[in-house]
């Protein structure tokens, strides 16, 4: 226990405290405002009440929008994970010239298409396909936007699955699908789980796509509803927003905790430096 060591330990803990505070303090609002009788933009010890919850539950569309969010985001997350898994396996195991450049180009395109400038093409296309005012249509557009990045991440996981596993399975006469189901998927499972959470989280917060493509307010997801919580004059309705924000955050947190405890949450299979 040299003095230098003690100083370093103290420094270390001070640093940890500062970092923890930096990350925790902005979140205090969502922990206090929902329970406060006069919620404002700021944090103070709440004057406890459940009145805001009553108001939020009584809102004509708030709770139903959560169901819409779940429908849209589960569809998106499952579709992204399934299609990205298939594609990344094929890309990982079958060599295609120009493959990386192609994927990279798609990844760059995805940033353009999900921006506002592409709203006309996306709207017109969905209109022609008859998918306006359809939650399924929203999920499709989101899936298309998330797939390139998902394939990227997953391909790295699958590249890390040792080929010898598959070879020996094949020696023992397993069919291709059996190999996939019993060898590749179990090994890549943390990657699949991570992609599922990632796709879910990304679609959960998306505002512009559902807003443009859905007409009926009772089909809009929570991210859109959150923007409509204003009073008559147009300023933010602070008795509903904090509670809704809190409830709206629960599904992503639960999903993350679930995945993290079962599979671990990480972002690459075994990046080789």
């Amino acid at each position: 226990m040299t003095p230098a060591y003690v100083v370093r330990r103290i420094g270390f803990y001070i640093l940890i405290c500062i970092v923890t505070l930096f990350f925790a303090v902005p979140m205090l609002w969502i922990a206090s405002a929902p329970f406060d009788s006069s919620p404002g933009l700021g944090v103070h010890w709440p004057d406890w009440t459940l009145e805001n919850f009553r108001k939020t539950l009584a809102h004509p569309y708030a709770m139903h929008s959560m169901v819409n969010s779940l429908l849209i985001c589960i569809t998106t997350a499952v579709a992204v994970t399934a299609f990205a898994a298939l594609a990344s396996y094929a890309l990982s195991r079958v060599r295609i010239p120009g493959r990386d450049a192609l994927l990279y180009g798609l990844l760059l395109l995805s940033s353009v298409v999900t921006g506002t400038a592409a709203m006309v093409p996306i709207f017109v296309m969905m209109f022609q396909l008859g998918l306006i005012d359809s939650r399924f249509g929203v999920a499709l557009v989101m899936t298309g936007g998330l797939l390139p990045a998902a394939i990227f991440i997953l391909k790295d996981f699958i590249d890390a699955v040792p080929k010898s596993y598959e070879e020996s399975a094949r020696v023992f006469g397993a069919s291709t699908l059996q190999i996939l189901r019993d060898v590749v998927v179990p090994v890549a499972r943390p990657g699949l789980a991570t992609i599922l959470v990632w796709a879910f989280v990304n679609s959960w917060g998306n505002f512009l796509v559902p807003f443009l493509l859905i007409r009926s307010i009772d089909k809009q997801p929570g991210a859109v509803l959150l923007q409509t919580f204003t009073d008559e004059g147009g300023s933010a309705n602070l008795s509903v927003i904090p509670v809704f924000s809190l409830l709206f955050s629960i599904p992503v947190v639960v999903l993350y905790l679930l995945v993290n405890s079962r599979y671990g949450f990480r972002f690459h299979g075994g990046i080789k430096s």
Binding site: F22, P26, I30, R95, V120, G144, A149, G205, S249, I271
Partner: protein, 307 residues
């Protein structure tokens, strides 16, 4: 998809050993596996993207005379962008935003967390990592409210802490606020990536560095960094691209006051929706894509020089 919690690919375009079709997939089945993803990407990504590029050479608007008969104006949207002071302003702010919040903020804080948490007690480690991750997975609309409440002029948390009533942070220092906000929002990714990268550093080398009495900084520079150089590049590139395309600044400041925090994605939004100039906004989107591409190529060069 403008949340900060963007994905996560590994370094692309790295030529690995020839892939082997060990599971006996066969070309036909490989194509079958690719088909659904390619179909969706083609329909919902490539097609609208090309269309957007086309709109970029017209004077299309959603209302008014140009909605009925838009005309092809060639490259004039692009020449307009080159002379547009607001676009220059947006580019400059985006560079500041990326430099401050991604390249410096998230990168350094993420690495520092990964480095210090290696040896921290499990309870401490779980708490800190949990908080950092929570900041990353919360929906962006919710996060916006958190930070508006944090910075609020009259009752905001920051002013309560500092006892500085009445400082309108988001109006007086909008870019500083955004840099802090985005560092908070996105550090989780860098932290996780560096955590796994540090596991690849052989403990024996760290041990011998300690034996010869190397300082912490020397250890980092001479032992750790050579092992994780690729990760640093990958991470920096990815978070830079995501930050440059991030739309969440809009949720905090709407680009204001007086364009002082109007980064390129926010500018595109304001041009397209407030101004209705879809042709021009498409052209700027395309310019942003080109800028992304240049950054990516620079990164690929650096990565190649490494090996």
């Amino acid at each position: 998809m403008t949340t900060a919690s963007q994905p996560v690919p590994a370094p692309p375009a790295r030529v690995r050993g020839p892939a082997q079709d060990v599971a006996g997939l066969g070309v036909t089945r490989a194509l079958g596996f690719l088909a659904p993803a390619l179909l969706l990407i083609g329909a919902f990504l490539v097609f609208p993207a090309i269309w957007t590029i086309y709109i970029g050479i017209t004077n299309y608007r959603l209302t008014g005379v140009e909605a009925v008969s838009p005309s092809i104006v060639g490259l004039s949207n692009y020449t307009k962008a080159l002379n547009d002071a607001l676009f220059h302003n947006a580019l400059w702010l985006t560079v500041l935003f990326v430099l401050g919040s991604a390249i410096i903020g998230q990168n350094i804080l993420g690495f520092m967390l990964a480095w210090t948490m290696r040896r921290a007690r499990p309870a401490v480690r779980r708490t800190v990592e949990g908080l950092v991750l929570l900041a990353w997975i919360l929906p962006s609309t919710v996060v916006a409210y958190l930070w508006i409440a944090f910075f609020d002029r009259d009752t905001g948390t920051l002013n309560s802490i500092l006892g500085a009533q009445g400082t309108a942070w988001l109006i007086d220092y909008p870019m500083v606020c955004l840099v802090f906000f985005n560092t908070w929002r996105g550090t989780a990714f860098s932290m996780m990536l560096y955590s796994s990268a540090l596991q690849a550093v052989p403990p024996s080398q760290l041990e011998s560095a300690r034996m010869v009495g190397a300082s912490g900084w020397q250890t980092l520079r001479d032992v750790v960094f050579p092992h994780i150089r690729g990760h640093v590049l990958t991470n920096t590139l990815l978070i830079s691209l995501w930050t440059a395309n991030d739309f969440s600044p809009f949720l905090l400041t709407k680009g204001g006051p007086n364009h002082e925090s109007e980064t390129v994605p926010v500018y595109i939004y304001n041009v397209a929706l407030q101004g209705g100039e879809l042709g021009y906004s498409s052209a700027i989107s395309f310019l942003l894509l080109i800028a992304n591409l240049l950054v990516a190529l620079l990164y690929l060069r650096l990565l190649r020089r490494r090996s």
